[in-house]
Symmetry: C2
Subunit: 137 residues, 2 copies
């Protein structure tokens, strides 16, 4: 009967574990800006697609250091998180400077063996005015 | 044994059906700019979070008409698509004018009963230069 199961599966457990890893990564890398704690959640290689960040583990370290120095109060909040297969997708509310503009972000992570191996993102500043009242989140 | 199944499930079939609906929606709404065909894939209500588009079915119709008039050759290509629960997430390569700048987009759709009921997105122009060679996709 496994082909008609709609209950929890081993696959579901892996998806939830990957989500927890990504949530821990946001906390360590972005909110705490703790490169060492965050790096434990990365794989042996880290393929970076954000055009403002250099590739690999060293590029990631440099990025977190830049945040720590330039935007010490930067905070992000994960508003939605999804997982399928090896990927985790998060819809994130980011504020660089308290009281400043909000950035809407979607990050896509690919994991290997429970660790983050690749990252894509798209970012957009939330405008002051909108044609609907629903907000970007 | 359903709790340890890792095979196909009724839930998986629904996720794949939702993805097919979203892919058909891109083709109808964005590539063909055919409001009538696209509207068949929408629910009775459509909650819009893109700040440049008015809410609801009427806002959607107006958006597609604007594309048809202002950007008749606009094309999008879905590079990645994921689904979890009632949501479908797509990583999309968009070009408004052939040969012009590329826009990286992530759309998040919520479906109800197999039809699209809510939409969030984030858009960013792909820059000419980047700090890595991996591209935004």
């Amino acid at each position: 009967m496994s082909t008609v199961s709609t209950g929890s599966t081993a696959s579901d457990a892996r998806l939830e574990a990957n989500k927890r890893t990504v949530l821990a990564f946001y906390q360590a890398a972005i909110n705490e800006k703790d490169h060492h704690a965050a790096a434990k959640l990365l794989g042996d290689t880290y393929i970076q697609h954000n055009p403002r960040i250099a590739d690999g583990l060293e590029g990631f370290r440099e990025f977190v250091e830049t945040l720590r120095v330039d935007f010490p109060d930067l905070r992000c909040e994960v508003r939605r998180i999804f997982a399928e297969g090896d990927h985790v997708i998060a819809h994130v509310h980011g504020v660089r400077v308290p009281g400043g503009p909000v950035t809407a972000i979607v990050d896509i992570f690919r994991l290997e063996g429970g660790r983050i191996a690749e990252h894509w993102d798209v970012m957009q500043q939330v405008p002051d005015e909108a044609r609907n009242r629903n907000g970007m989140f």
